[in-house]
Point group: C2
Chain length 296, copies 2
């Protein structure tokens, strides 16, 4: 029988843990969220973060900027937030308009407040720490992108060992694919990174034990790719057309995996919704509390 | 027939190109090499770098420090070299004694002079730039670890395309395994990173088209892992015991691949010596000239 990897349940468990931790702190950790334009999709994500914050006793400082804001104004705002001692984490809600240089904006965030783990400092650290034994021992732990962190937490909660396993990561984004590949490598998994240019993806899936799909393509992975030994983590959050939904027999929000086909077949799978989504929010606030404590 | 990927020949070609470039510069690029203790193995590597520098008209400033040097003294020296305008690249010859914090020492090097590409800034950039299309477009090019750079150059020189190919990287060091994996990913290869904890490595080899071995283990890859379709890059430089040498039928310096077995079998292979070794030295000086030009 297929085991459902329940991110909602673990998210609640983490919330309870964080709530207790925060109640013992002298002040509340505060997350600054910078949003450029009141885009509906971004607002939905931000609302979930606000709700989680309220639940655990953290604060959110939500700043909505006009869509046509000048890059310099965002950079000045980030500088100000970097200096404020009552702000412990800063995130820029993605996507941002194309006239803004995403890299320059991310780099402006102080790495110690970069709770999304997207500055090159934190990205570099996760990359450097993905070693077995031969690499430098004193590489500090940075802040890890929340989705990647949440995936590892969900696997560990379900006692799914990574060492010696073959893990396939589909997608190579800075937010999910690459950091989770590095974390799996650190856990001594043999890691394959696949993407849109990969040939015969179904075959590559069959060569691996654990499949982490973060491709943003509804129904990308189905029964042709899967066997009963597979453990599947579905990071996709797609809202496809009605026609596609009918084809894959799904409701509004779907992952990258054809859940109907997979849930009859594989050893374990994280559902969408209720899998990695809640883990991402919970892991973000783990990062915030971590940043708060390191700053003291 | 097996094609030999000749790094010595390409190294000479790069030397000629660099010599011409340097003759057009107003001053000579200068590389500072910091060596802790006059270790024979390190000295041999440094001699090769000095020889190459002399050949192309670059300068080397070789500093030998006592084995028991205090960390603070190395950090002060690096700070001084960072500030000197006549020094364009700084490397710390590895290994260094265990009482020194390798990470702290690497981090002290100015990223713009870090021609070994080992600072977290440059490591982070190679990681961030390993994308297809969705990642930030304005990530600057950092300095790439010479061996990883040399491997890609040797593949390109031999017109071996990476896009859509399955590349296996064995080893996950910061010097070779991880950066070359990122470079292959950037070239749209499907990349697998294996290591000492990987199970059934021979089988994993057979699932891939190109094998890059940087494990530091003589004879790790032999006929059981290889087929006639394979392209093999051997990064190993091992000096095993007489007994092992006899077993694999090799001379003094051997790679991680059993060359005798492989050379009868695979489509192409880089030999040891004469493969990646000369490419590493040539690529280091490409980095030096790059750092010189960016500093102008």
């Amino acid at each position: 029988m297929t085991k459902i990897l329940d991110g909602k349940k673990l998210g609640k468990k983490i919330a309870a843990k964080l709530k207790k931790e925060i109640s013992n702190l002298s002040t509340s950790p505060m997350l600054a969220i910078i949003q450029v334009g009141d885009v509906a999709q971004s607002s939905a994500y931000i609302d979930r973060k606000k709700k989680f914050a309220a639940e655990i006793g953290a604060k959110v400082h939500h700043i909505i900027l006009p869509l046509d804001i000048a890059e310099k104004d965002i950079l000045d705002l980030i500088k100000e937030l970097n200096e404020r001692t009552d702000i412990h984490g800063i995130i820029v809600q993605l996507p941002i308009p194309k006239h803004l240089d995403r890299f320059a904006i991310m780099e402006a965030i102080s790495p110690s407040k970069d709770v999304d783990g997207l500055t090159s400092r934190n990205a570099g650290l996760i990359y450097e720490r993905a070693f077995g034994g031969a690499d430098p021992k004193n590489v500090p732990a940075g802040l890890i992108p929340a989705t990647a962190k949440g995936i590892i937490s969900l696997l560990k909660e379900n006692k799914i060992a990574l060492s010696g396993k073959k893990v396939l990561v589909i997608g190579r984004s800075l937010l999910v694919g690459k950091p989770v590949a590095m974390l799996c490598l650190r856990e001594n998994a043999t890691v394959t990174i696949a993407h849109s240019k990969t040939k015969d993806l179904d075959k590559v899936c069959k060569e691996n034990d654990i499949i982490i799909v973060a491709a943003g393509k509804a129904g990308l992975i189905g029964k042709k790719a899967l066997t009963k030994k597979h453990i599947v983590i579905d990071v996709g959050t797609n809202t496809p057309s009605k026609k596609t939904l009918e084809e894959i027999g799904a409701k509004k929000l779907v992952g990258d995996v054809n859940f109907k086909e997979a849930a009859k077949l594989v050893a374990a799978i994280s559902p969408v919704p209720g899998g990695i989504g809640p883990m991402t929010v919970a892991s973000l606030f783990e990062n915030l509390v971590e940043a708060y404590k390191r700053g003291k």
